[in-house]
Amino acid sequence: MSAYQALVDIVGSDRVSEDLVERYLYSRDSGAQPAGQADYVVLPKTVEEVQQVLRLANSRNIPVTPLGGGLSLSGLVVPRRGGIVLDMKRMDRILEVDEMNRYALIEAGVSQGALREYLKQHHPRFQHSTPEAPPTATVTGNALIQGHGHISPRYGVNSDMIGGMEVVLPTGEITRIGSCSLDEKWFTKGPMPDLAGLFVGWYGTTGVATKLSLKIFPKPAFREVMAFQTDAVDLLPEAISEVMYLDMAEDFFLIMQEKPDWMNHAFLVVIVSGHFKEEIELKKSAYKNLFKNFHGGQPIGFVRDLHPALEKRFLDVPPLAALAADFREGGGFQYTGAILSVDQVPAAWHRGIEIAHQYDMICSYVHQVLQGNSVMFGFNYSFNRGDEKDIERARMALEDSNRVTLELGGMIWKGERPAQQMVLEKMDPNTAGLIKRVKALLDPNGIMNPGNWEVP
């Protein structure tokens, strides 16, 4: 029986395609990475269907690429060696929200927008951490790629918020991780060996997550944006440290744009929140005074009349960050998500501007501070999808900023395949060897998203 017919037998003819239009579309993403080649696209609805698809693929050595929202922009869901793209968005049920034990149990295809609205409607006192991505991004996808979201400066990145998982192994076993492996309780992923770590950050090379329990958090009634402006980039690490030490921020960004001129400064954008008006006033007052005596009180100023567009941009959840894709009227956007230690921010800041100028781009920064330990430093590149040379320029700029990231001792978040290779080359050989052994153990035939985390 052909692979196509076998897939039809599993999910039905309406949910599998080998037509050229689907193969074309599912062979590329919205970033600047080259296209791959999908042979089949499958839309599973149940964990059993995922299981059967993986058993089939494993028995025939057919590559499988799991796909969520497809918005990593770094080609992580672009099938490099053909095979099946498993579009998980048909598994879109919100199964349970437990306010008392503070988690939401969802299927892997639930979008950020759907969960956010569901909580707003049915559990208005709670929220989940929503990334700076379009609302079509999936919750599970962002957690699995160690993505961050709003409120991450306070609560950590989304992968830290996982309370349990259901995963189908490449060999077809359905496995549960956390308290759900003992009982129908999804409130914690431990204490037990941290098996979630076998699937988080692996870009789908070790299995397919089908359910996820994610922590939910209190949603304060009041939120406000405060901004500080400076040109003293070298003082940013100290300033970041002070903001985080005060420990009252819900969210914290560093931004800069070379155009328009009024944006060509470093802005520290602090979002404060509170259940009570008095609480938020206290926090605002504390932050307003934070830099009054900082290095003589001059270098960092409080922005009194924040531009309404900026205020909206940082209060909107999710923000319309995708607008950056049309900055060059070309529909393309990609970035290096550098995870840098705080002390390296000035060096990265200067190098990023140099790289942008080298490729005739206007520099634009949005960085999120993550719990005081690190900064997600975004080297952002808009490009014109209609111009191959411009796409190539974006790829080269990306490669340069990946190299800078590693030179500065940083790590690359959701790096495209060339970036993963850079990381592996620099990595301690024993660590890389461990990655290789884990992959071989879980995926003996190497069917899962081949090309990613591929240790030579």
């Binding site: 579009d87 409607q121 393309g332």
Partner: protein, 398 residues
Amino acid sequence: MQYEEILHRCFRCGFCKLPSDYSDINCPAYLRYRFESFSPGGRMWLIRAWLDGNIQADARFQEVLFSCATCNNCVEHCIFPKFKDQLLNAFIAAKAALVDEGRLPPQVRDYLTRLLEHGNPYKMPRKKRGNWASELGIESYAGQEYLFYVGDVGSFDESGARIARSVANVFRKLGLSFGILGEKEGSDGNEARALGETELFKHLAERNIDVFKQLGVEKVVTLSPHGYNALKNDYPELGGEFQVFHYTQLLVERLPAIELPDSPDFAFPRKATFHDPCYLGRHNQDYESARQVLDLLPGIERVEMKRSGADALCCGGGGGNFFTDLVSSGAETAAKVRVREAADTLGADMLGADKGAGFLVTACPVCTLMLEDAVKSQNLDGRIQVREISELVAEQLF
């Protein structure tokens, strides 16, 4: 191809397939198929791939294009202000290019052939166009204030004709001066245009325009939002400058002058929720006329579905799909989702045979028929009743 220059600018962020609260899928074609290829962003990329020679205009590509219900949700919710208004135009331009090449799904080809050969998709002779009104004694248009333009569905579909009679009876009760064209009326061409058959649309429209002009028509009131859209927005480019109204817009003006009964013919208040027809709402920004009419009716308690106004989920009948059936088959279709949403909105407390059903109200014969079918398929017959708003008004007046 016209609008080719915007295709590469789509980032495929996906706002276009959602309502403004991002809660659910609001694109009928994507809802039906769930492959990204059937989303507006997918369509943008695929049209570009086709123009670049990377894919062929095979049957699947044709299905991708012609399953678009032209509901305008993508235009409403795309976040890119510099080109969002052209999204649907680009899809129609691509369909037009396929029509020129003769590469069409069989259902679309058959629909357009019927329209070309018979002047309507029902293969009915022109002389029967006025049959819907034969027992009403409605005057032919001869200088009355309004021409009542009925269109294909109102003229030839049994349920559509019922709705047309209902509107005509309400007009009479309101004392409106109006006449009809009968066999002089032709198809409005709205669906032909949406399917990219621009020459056929032009032919149909110009024929109507000639008739209107010969008869000295100045004001036209339409039964269907589809006809309203074509006459209001597309006929002027072809020299057809008329004052065009949807019938609900006249009702909202004139109904307050009529003394309605204190109590309705049903014994207790009914909940009613309004389904916005895309060609009245998103295409022409009239979200209020029908609601105001509904609010004038005694015994009706209007409640809103979560997706309403600019966020309304299309019934899936636009863009010719009412006739071609590309997005209305299958387990999960827009119409089926929509009637379930209506049932949830109308609430269990009003349901059941002893208390009567809640009303899912719309102001379009196409929406009415699509939703009626969906109610039956979802076994919601006893729980909600689909009502064209003119029928609710008529029940109060007669």
